[in-house]
């Protein structure tokens, strides 16, 4: 049974080939990727590779397709009707869009933090441990441990440790967002996809999240969408600039922010438009 499973590659478990590939430092590779919402094309020929263990920032003006690209990585776009894609996207050398890919397994390896906080209408505790629950973890101690660790990492522990059984909807918007971050890292994913995680946070919480991202670097590969140039400059190693569905420029963050090749990149990072 297991042998059959490996040969048909239905599980997203890295093989030797994959490991070899990732030792070169690449975890995700996007090739000639196009996406249409119905008739409207939202992504045009996107080509990029994401380096393992690095923080990659996606920047660009509103509506340029950053969230779309991010959602393609863990196939959250599957929920959308009338969606068409062309091109390849691989993780550890394995095609994310191949027929028969274990989408659930893929998503377990990619935690995601959405642009808008979306906690479940459950207790804070249940929210954080949800990824473990769906994995069949029942041991109370393990759950509590994971809950604490994730909440601490998300800089929320001190605020909610007294009321873990309260409904998460009673938290403030910023607290809810940090809760979602805690939830995303509770199951120890390989890749963390963050869609403007700090847009609802105050400066202190923001800097705490930035610290967190810094700590996680190396263990996790992080892709973060942000509108905050300083933030992108502070925390990311690589930066991709998108505009109108196209990847305009992609490279090391220092280069992108100091001497980009493209005029538009320069205009954008210096705040002349966007």
């Amino acid at each position: 049974m297991d042998a059959a499973a490996t040969t048909t590659r239905d599980a997203f478990e890295p093989t030797e080939y994959h490991q070899a590939k990732s030792s070169q430092g690449e975890i995700i590779e996007i090739k000639d990727f196009n996406l249409w919402y119905g008739q409207a094309q939202a992504l045009h020929d996107v080509n990029m590779t994401i380096e393992k263990g690095m923080v990659t920032a996606l920047i660009g003006p509103s509506g340029c397709g950053k969230s779309t690209l991010l959602r393609c990585l863990n196939r959250m776009n599957d929920l959308i009707d009338n969606l068409k894609i062309k091109g390849r996207m691989t993780m550890d050398g394995m095609d994310i869009y191949a027929p028969g890919v274990d989408v659930i397994g893929l998503r377990k390896r990619m935690g995601m933090v959405f642009q808008k906080p979306n906690p479940f209408p459950k207790s804070i505790f249940e929210n954080v441990v949800y990824p473990l629950r769906v994995d069949g973890v029942r041991d109370r101690r393990e759950l509590e441990e994971a809950c604490r660790r994730s909440l601490e990492a998300a800089a929320l522990w001190d605020e909610v440790k007294e009321r873990l059984e309260d409904n998460a909807l009673g938290l403030s918007g910023g607290q809810q967002q940090r809760l979602c971050i805690a939830r995303a890292i509770a199951s120890d994913p390989d890749v963390l996809l963050m869609d403007e995680p700090c847009s609802a946070l105050d400066p202190i919480a923001t800097s705490r999240i930035e610290e967190l991202i810094d700590e996680l670097r190396g263990t996790y590969t992080i892709i973060i969408v942000t509108h905050n140039m300083q933030q992108a400059a502070r925390i990311s190693q690589n930066t991709a600039f998108m505009y109108l569905g196209r990847l305009i420029e992609y490279g090391q963050t220092e280069v992108m922010f100091t001497s980009p090749f493209q005029r538009r990149t320069q205009d954008y990072v210096t705040g002349r438009f966007g």
Binding site: M76, P131, V134, F273
Partner: protein
């Protein structure tokens, strides 16, 4: 490029005309008109609903209002010479007739008291010592001092004449009536005249004893051609005799001859002074009552060998028994006493009674006590109503079955004569000072109170108080039984069983379309399900009664089997599907998957049919219907069947807990092949565990002597609740499905995305996130479905058998409130009791659906509030 587009209109330089910001008149007027129309329309809807409610209430209220008095006239009659034996009133309340012990028959005008006629009855001056009349009133009997009895009849014949049939020279009695000294003439509608006259006949005396007759009762039986007249006499010496008189007309001489045969009842106990004697109309029971409250009941079914069946004392201490009379039907006896009590007794079958015939006389209806000793009881000639007069002149009109006091009248002094009009619309009383009172009364619904409609009622002949609905029967003395409880029960039973079938299917279907299929499929499936709702329920009922019912009857074992094979095959197929390589599964996920599902459903059906005979032999003793009846097999399979769902849930919880603690390796986690094998293993173990647990429970309960049959499963009839459940299920499934689907769909997309992004499967997402978030909407959907099932009519009329029973047996029929209204309203006389009771049934139904729908709406409102929060 972008900078250019940012330039504003001013910068563009073109001086655009500023649009006026006023709202135009036309818009305002249209808005006003729309506002007014909608307000009027809305108010009209509210008024219409309120109007229906008011109308229903208005029709129903008279059921509970007791009685009312129309007119009351009072006059003084000329003094009577000697005692008055008998008083009667005609059907139209025109005259009152009195028969005196002196042998004179007098009639006077009821509304004025004016004497109409006073004739000699032709008894030849016999010394009358006892008197009896049949309940209908026409047939009378005299007991004489010489120990003989004499039959007679007092009639008030009524004729309708043409207008010119009215004789000339009449004496006016009042503005309406006139008399010629023999009869009263009343002009009636259509230019005709009603003539109310008097007639009296008597026969030759028949000797039954050689001592004076003291007490007498008389009943007429047999046929009109060959009447048998039964009477019971008690003479001076206390000898009780039951006699039968048979009349024969000699065909040659045309002379009637009467032959009397007499049988002596066992002698009365020493010291017992009989005060009353009663005889039933089949002459099978004789009751003798003494003043001290002793009642002797003789069983005279064997005419030649009567026996004393029972002796009871109905009065404590030194109370005196002052009245003892039958009500119509001659089963119920009103016992009046010196403390003012007037209670109703009847005979019920009672095997451990202290009587010789297995019956006993019981106090069935204790009624409200009057302030003074009861002196007279006047039963109604058409219902279980009667009037009681006490020594202080209070006259109360009561009803035996409903135990209520309908009217309280005051006559000033204790009545010597008391009679209710034949149509229950008047009450006539004469007291010892010869003051007469006539009340015209209206008591349209004496038998209904909240207690009789919704509580247990002890009807005559029933062993105990019960909830009974029986609105018609062949005989006249039959009492209609209006308990709404069996009907409410029927409605609840039909609702419960149909929801048991419909709710799981509808909810699973809703989860499936909202969470598992692509929006394109959903866009096809949902309208199709909604179209199912437009299937007329009469068609469903028709199919249920004529196709489904016979089918289920023939394939009962297969239907049972289907409850097992369908879920098991589908689940097994689903687990099997997991093992398809993902590439293959992905490629087959569209139409082929659908076809496979359809094939599995067909297979489950085939399996059910195929396994039916085998199942029947193994568990149901070879015949499911005989098994249901309790004739063969044991109740164990039923316990197994019923315990299975709960056992499955328990087993699953136990497995997860135990495996989670001791064998974490067996907990399916992740999504690899191993996890699939583990989840299949888990399913098999849980299923096996559940089966073992329920089997053990079934065996244990059977071993301990518990019989599961007789409650939910019992004797099979063709039109049964199972069939109704299926048919009504089909009526409510689309409704519950659509509303539940909407509720599930209304759960914000971001919750679904959050859960899926955490690596949850669609099923986990549905069960852990979507369903809890939509629970109140889903609940409301179920409630609306329940409301529909409660009000559903045609299906229950056609498929439920309409038997107003109160049991939970799935294999038995039921009668729902709605079906009852549909079936009986065409037969109900307008404004009659049945008519009003049916309206009460409608009101009850209205309230039930109203409560259910309101509950659904309240929950939905809460749901909306919570949805806003999400």
């Amino acid at each position: 490029m972008l900078n250019e587009s940012l330039t504003g209109p001013e910068a563009g330089g073109t001086a655009r005309r500023r649009r006026p910001k006023r709202t135009s008149r036309a818009v305002l007027i249209a808005d006003r008109i729309a506002d007014a129309t909608i307000t009027v329309g809305g108010l009209m809807v509210i008024f219409a609903v309120a109007g229906i409610m008011v109308f229903l209430v208005e029709v129903v209220v008279p059921l509970f209002t007791g009685g009312s008095v129309g007119t009351h006239t009072q006059y003084r009659l000329p003094p009577a010479e000697g005692a008055v034996l008998y008083t009667a009133v005609d059907e139209y309340n025109t005259v009152a007739v009195e028969l005196g012990a002196n042998g004179r028959l007098a009639a006077h005008h009821l509304r004025t008291g004016a004497m109409v006629a006073n004739v000699d009855a032709g008894l030849g001056g016999a010394d009358i010592t006892a008197f009896a009349a049949t309940l209908a009133g026409e047939e009378v009997m005299f007991g004489l001092a010489d120990g003989s009895v004499r039959f007679g009849s007092v009639g008030i014949p009524i004729q309708v004449l043409a207008a010119n049939g009215m004789p000339a020279g009449l004496r006016r009695l009042d503005e309406r009536d006139a008399t010629d000294g023999e009869a009263v003439y009343t002009p009636i509608a259509g230019g005709q005249v009603r003539k109310v006259a008097l007639s009296f006949k008597s026969e030759e005396p028949q000797r039954v004893s050689d001592r004076p007759i003291r007490l007498l009762d008389y009943r007429l039986g047999g046929t009109v051609e060959r009447p048998t007249r039964a009477f019971v006499t008690i003479d001076d010496a206390g000898a009780v005799r039951l006699s039968l008189a048979e009349s024969r007309v000699n065909l040659l001489t045309r002379k009637a001859s009467t032959r009397v045969s007499t049988s002596a009842l066992p002698p009365l106990p020493d010291g017992l002074r009989p005060a009353f004697v009663l005889l039933t109309d089949k002459a099978d029971q004789v009751y003798v009552a003494a003043e001290d409250g002793t009642i002797l009941r003789y069983d005279t079914r064997d005419f030649d060998d009567p026996v004393l069946a029972e002796r009871i004392d109905v009065l404590p201490g030194d109370l005196r028994l002052t009245a003892f009379r039958f009500l119509i039907g001659e089963q119920q006896i009103v016992v009046g006493a010196s403390d003012g009590s007037a209670d109703v007794y009847f005979r019920i079958q009672n095997h451990n009674a202290a009587s010789t015939d297995g019956y006993s006389l019981v106090l069935a209806h204790p009624l409200e006590r009057q302030p003074a000793p009861i002196v007279k009881v006047a039963p109604s000639k058409r219902s279980k109503m009667f009037a009681t007069a006490d020594a202080d002149g209070n006259i109360w009109v009561r009803h035996a079955t409903s135990e209520q006091t309908l009217l309280r009248l005051d006559a000033g002094e204790g009545a010597a004569g008391l009679v209710m009009s034949p149509r229950d619309n008047g009450l006539y009383a004469v007291d010892s000072r010869r003051q007469a009172d006539f009340w015209s009364i209206s008591v349209p619904h004496p038998e209904t109170t909240l207690g009789t409609l919704f509580g247990k009622v002890w009807y005559e002949g029933y062993p105990a108080p019960s909830y009974t609905w029986q609105s018609s029967s062949g005989t006249d003395s039959f009492e209609e039984k209006f308990s709404l409880v069996p009907l409410i029960f029927g409605t609840i039973k039909a609702t419960v069983y149909s929801l048991l079938f419909a709710v799981p299917i509808a909810l699973l279907a809703a989860i499936y379309t909202s969470e598992f299929v692509q929006p394109r499929v959903r866009a096809v499936v949902k309208p199709m399900m909604e179209m199912m709702a437009s299937l007329p329920s009469v068609v469903l009922g028709f199919i249920a009664a004529l196709v489904l019912a016979p089918f289920v009857e023939t394939w009962l074992a297969a239907v049972f089997a289907a409850f097992l094979t369908f879920p098991l095959s589908l689940l097994a197929a689903a687990y099997g599907w997991q093992f398809l390589p993902l590439t293959v599964a992905g490629r087959l996920s569209g139409v082929p998957k659908f076809l496979t599902m359809a094939a599995v459903v067909v297979l489950a059906g085939v399996l059910a049919v195929a396994s039916a005979p085998w199942l029947e032999d193994l568990f149901f003793g070879g015949d499911v219907r005989a098994w249901a009846n309790g004739d063969v097999g044991s109740g164990a399979p039923l316990v197994f069947f019923l315990a299975m769902p709960a056992a499955y849930i328990l087993s699953a919880l136990t497995y997860d807990r135990l495996a989670g603690r001791w064998l974490p390796a067996l907990v399916p986690s992740g999504s690899g092949g191993a996890a699939k094998a583990k989840s299949l293993l888990r399913w098999l173990v849980v299923l096996g565990g559940a089966a073992c647990a329920s089997a053990a429970l079934a065996a244990g309960m059977t071993w301990s002597g518990f019989e599961a049959r007789g409650g939910m499963v019992d004797t099979y009839v063709q039109r049964n609740t199972l069939v109704v459940g299926f048919a009504m299920g089909f009526a409510v499934i689309p409704l519950i499905y659509t509303l539940a689907e909407d509720a599930l769909n209304a759960v914000p997309e971001h919750l679904r995305a959050a859960s899926l992004a955490c690596g949850a499967t669609p099923w986990q997402t549905a069960v852990r996130i979507i369903l809890p978030a939509a629970v109140s909407g889903v609940f409301a959907a179920v409630m609306v479905g329940m409301g529909r099932a409660v009000g559903e009519t045609m299906i229950v009329v056609m498929a439920a058998g309409n038997t107003p029973l109160m049991d939970w047996n799935v294999f038995n029929g039921l009668r729902a409130l709605s079906a009852n209204i549909a079936v009986e309203l065409p037969e109900a006389v307008r404004d009659g009791t049945l008519y009003r009771v049916l309206f009460l049934a409608a009101l009850t139904l209205f309230i039930m659906t109203f409560v259910i729908n309101t509950a659904a709406e309240v929950v939905r409102q809460r749901f909306r509030k919570r949805a806003v929060q999400l």
